[in-house]
């Protein structure tokens, strides 16, 4: 047996140490040390542990009423889930609920309007100030100078309408939406039976990009794909809807209405179809005389053959439906356009479009709609119910001026451009904090904020004139009185006298214009929509660099057009319309946009929409066309004549 010598022994020992060392290194243990060191030196946040559960919630913040399941860790909501799909606003409710800039108490203006300086007051003080102001207007016989602007027809919007009307004012308006526009133009908003239609002819309605109830539309789209429903999309840009459609009909900017006239003309003269709408004879004469197919083809850029082909396909389909309302989250269409597109449905006797009304919602006030109210209305007192017309209306700047002279109350959970001009701000909730008859609130109210329904009920109880408006003291009971949706029964009328001037004005609109040779039309980025998404970091994370990149807002311009104007990628340009100019916009050259068109993203350029949403890009509404439609009372801002330099 070999004797182990001292040298060998040392070797062995050394080997063991080396082996151990390398074992230690390869075991990853030193890296655990690094890990510990990194964590210890950075003091990284560790989320608070808790019991996991799921809570159910129904959104009461918009009429779609998304149903969601919320994953909870203890009393914290950490994730919004849904089997049925949710709209972007509901998905963002998590970041709204926990937004660091939530308004925590009622606020009273301190500095000048627009300065953004407010001081906290108690609920009692705030309500007292509001009711005494209202009271004096009512006793002075000026009740009609009290007005309200609702974001939408959700239950709190309906309560606001009842409250203001009970106070003696007719001036309740809603931010323009598909429902409000079609209601005003047709006498009822349209309930589309999309599940059973086999041919959808869309006039710029970006059906899968946020249009109407976006969660429902995603489901509808999936059904269409499985059933092979034909989708024909008229659009000026290659939107997602255009790209996914069976057929994309590229139209020149803003000419969707003219295309509808053309198809109607062909169906009436070529296929001898009739509509039962009132004044059809008068309307059809006007259209037939004014919009022969050759003219329609030159305005829209769609050939006569193709117009006829679309007309044939549409009228021969089993259950066709034509859809109006250009846009995604921000929808716009003139009443002439809505009527013309609805006419197509009546010509083919579509079973898929029914006119509806909501018993608690009237979209008209003293004026036909919000923009005509902003333009011509007078008010001494204004309630903003989660709405942001200063940002969203093309007449926002005019509204600001009027708001400076009035007493303004804003109800909203976080600051926005309009609330910045308020005298009193009342903090409301995210839907995760509000209770419905089916579900308890998922998380408790943020500080002193309250449910908008409760706020409105409390306000009404504080006034003699309105104290009996609601027979209940709590918002939870108001679900019983929610408006019912029923078929409107209104007789569809072409309203020729009201829209004739607008139809006549189209010639001027599309005539060559040396000063403003281009058209600006809006586009939207996913989740950003027409602006509501921008306050939420997880929305900002999704924005494509071709839309907004390192503080630069990019407009999309066709390559040929870019060449014509000597533009290069990323170059800064100034866009001018008759109403003003936008600088700090940059060029993205792409052939997904029609020639001579500036495709401008909506949703950017907020002034005071929290630090995440403010000062990013520009708000093009400031220079967009502002001719107010006589029936909808909404500005027709879709296409604006502009020049660039």
């Amino acid at each position: 047996m070999k004797k182990i010598e001292r040298k060998d022994f040392l070797k062995l020992g050394g080997g063991a140490v080396l082996g151990g060392l390398s074992g230690w290194v390869f075991s990853g243990a030193p890296f655990l040390g690094f890990q510990w060191l990194a964590e210890w030196t950075q003091d990284q946040y560790v989320p608070v542990k808790g019991f996991e559960k799921y809570a159910q919630a129904v959104s009461d913040s918009c009429p779609a009423g998304c149903k969601v399941s919320v994953r909870m860790i203890g009393d914290r909501a950490v994730k919004i889930e849904s089997k049925d799909g949710v709209c972007p606003a509901c998905h963002n409710a998590l970041q709204l609920t926990y937004h660091p800039e939530r308004i925590s108490t009622p606020l009273k203006r301190k500095g000048d309007k627009g300065d953004g300086k407010f001081v906290p007051v108690t609920w009692e003080e705030a309500v007292k100030e509001i009711s005494s102001k209202m009271n004096s207007l009512i006793t002075e016989g000026k009740a009609n100078s009290i007005a309200a602007i609702n974001k939408n027809e959700s239950l709190n919007g309906q309560l606001m309408e009842k409250f203001i009307k009970a106070a003696g004012s007719n001036n309740v308006y809603y931010e323009p939406s598909l429902k409000s526009l079609t209601s005003s133009a047709l006498g009822g908003y349209i309930n589309y039976d999309f599940a059973n239609t086999d041919y959808v002819l869309s006039f710029g309605a970006k059906l899968v990009e946020g249009w109407d109830s976006s969660a429902d539309m995603q489901k509808v789209f999936t059904q269409w794909k499985t059933k092979g429903t034909k989708i024909v999309q008229a659009d000026t840009v290659c939107s997602m809807t255009a790209s996914l459609a069976s057929e994309w009909v590229p139209v020149k900017p803003g000419t969707e209405a003219v295309l509808a006239f053309g198809i109607a003309n062909y169906l009436i003269t070529g296929r001898r179809l009739n509509s039962t709408g009132e004044e059809f004879g008068k309307w059809s004469q006007l259209i037939i005389n004014k919009f022969p197919l050759a003219k329609v083809a030159s305005y829209t850029g769609v050939s006569e053959e193709r117009i006829k082909k679309i007309g044939d396909d549409f009228s021969k389909a089993k259950n066709p439906v034509a859809v109006s309302g250009k846009g995604a989250c921000g929808v716009n269409a003139s009443s002439a356009e809505i009527i013309a597109v609805y006419c197509l449905n009546t010509l083919v006797k579509s079973k898929a479009a029914t006119l509806m009304t909501n018993s608690s919602v009237t979209y008209k006030g003293e004026f036909a709609g919000l923009d005509s109210f902003i333009k011509d209305g007078k008010f001494s007192m204004l309630f903003l119910n989660n709405s942001d017309p200063v940002y969203k209306s093309v007449l926002g700047e005019d509204l600001k001026k009027k708001m400076e002279k009035a007493f303004v109350v804003s109800i909203n959970p976080i600051m926005n451009d309009s609330a910045n001009y308020a005298d009193i701000i009342l903090p409301s909730l995210s839907f995760l904090e509000s209770e419905t008859p089916e579900n308890k609130a998922v998380v408790s109210n943020f500080k002193e904020s309250k449910d908008a329904k409760d706020i409105i009920i409390a306000l009404s109880k504080s006034l003699d004139k309105t104290k009996d408006t609601f027979s209940f003291a709590s918002g939870i009971d108001s679900f019983k009185v929610a408006g019912k949706e029923t078929a409107s029964g209104a007789k569809f009328s072409f309203n020729v006298d009201k829209i004739k001037n607008d139809i006549d004005a189209l010639d001027k609109k599309f005539a060559a214009n040396a000063e403003y040779p281009l058209f600006m039309i809006p586009v939207e980025a996913p989740l950003v929509g027409d602006g509501d998404g921008l306050a939420f970091p997880y929305v900002l994370k999704s924005i494509d660099p071709t839309v907004f990149y390192k503080g630069k807002l990019l407009v999309q311009i066709n390559r040929e057009t870019g060449k014509k104007y000597g533009l290069s990628e990323n170059e800064s340009i100034v866009i001018r319309s008759a109403r003003g100019k936008l600088d700090k916009v940059y060029v993205h050259l792409t052939d997904t946009v029609a020639p001579d068109t500036v495709a401008m993203p909506l949703g950017f350029g907020h002034e005071s929409y929290t630090k995440y949403g403010s000062d990013k890009g520009v708000n093009p509404k400031k220079i967009m066309a502002a001719d107010v439609d006589p029936l909808t009372g909404t500005a027709d801002w879709w296409s604006t004549r502009v020049k660039i330099s």
Binding site: V46, K49, I73
Partner: protein, 276 residues
């Protein structure tokens, strides 16, 4: 490359099929991924170079090759492609072998894991990844004020100087298996799960499942003519023998994320081919 001697017994081979004919680009997958995985909230997350996210909602068009109106647009949700290399039984993604800290590895479910707390920030894996699926935390992940309340306890908050990436939400599988165990179910590997992005997609464009299970929807989808993987040139080789010799000669990424499309331009673009 050295061959491992022992074949790994794969319990699962999770894969994904994303149907671009159905994807509307709504972005819900992106929001869900951010919520589920505690994505940091910087002051300006629209700042793309600074952005940290696992899922990139890429807007793609063929407008370089086509003129208006012969153009098309699509959104392509891009996450870690879960590469497995040439041999599914012996997975070898480009990013794993380069990691000196064993911070990234392939599990017995085929998922390329990433343990941020073990990452030493050398960024080798980021360089090795051909899909830009990995992001580096140049700044300390922040969550201003009450945003912290929305953080999940399932995913640890990363430190500055670490590489992070999509993990196929593997913590959800753990969660589901824990739940199963609590209910007394013993065969925990039989438990299925749905990652956040797939679970939230309103059009059902993202399908997730076990590629080893030939009855699964995801497997069937990957076998259709519409299936295409991001720049994996070996997929274009139709001849079986040629394919075999190619796979012998060279390592390919062979992602377990498949895209489905009936649009030729999109297929071409995803394979870096010019439209003809």
């Amino acid at each position: 490359m050295k061959e491992k001697v022992k074949e790994v017994k794969m319990k699962r081979r999770w894969g994904m099929a994303i149907d671009l004919d159905k994807c509307t680009g709504c972005g819900k997958c992106s929001v869900a991924c951010n919520q589920e995985n505690n994505m940091p909230i910087f002051e300006d997350d629209s700042d793309v170079p600074k952005r940290v996210a696992f899922l990139e909602l890429m807007k793609v068009t063929n407008d370089r090759d086509a003129k208006f109106p012969d153009v098309k647009t699509a959104y392509l949700p891009k996450m870690c492609q879960m590469c497995e290399g040439n041999d599914p039984k012996n997975p070898n993604p480009p990013c794993v072998s380069v990691c000196p800290a064993v911070a990234t590895d392939v599990g017995d479910d085929g998922v390329v894991s990433q343990i941020w707390s073990r990452c030493i920030g050398c960024r080798y894996c980021q360089t090795a990844c051909p899909y830009e699926a990995r992001v580096f935390n140049w700044w300390k992940p922040e969550y201003e004020g009450s945003f912290k309340k929305s953080l999940s306890t399932d995913v640890s908050v990363a430190s500055r100087g670490t590489v992070v990436k999509c993990t196929f939400c593997s913590h959800i599988w753990k969660r589901e298996r824990d739940a199963a165990t609590a209910k007394g179910i013993l065969d925990i590997n039989a438990v299925l799960y749905t990652p956040a992005c797939a679970g939230t997609c309103p059009t059902g464009a993202i399908v997730f499942g076990d590629l080893n299970d030939h009855d699964s929807e995801v497997y069937k989808l990957t076998q259709t003519d519409r299936a295409v993987r991001l720049t994996n040139p070996v997929d274009d080789v139709k001849d079986a023998d040629k394919k075999k010799s190619l796979l012998k000669a060279k390592q390919f990424t062979n992602p377990k994320v498949y895209y489905l499309t009936s649009q030729q331009w999109l297929r071409d673009m995803m394979r870096f081919k010019k439209n003809s």
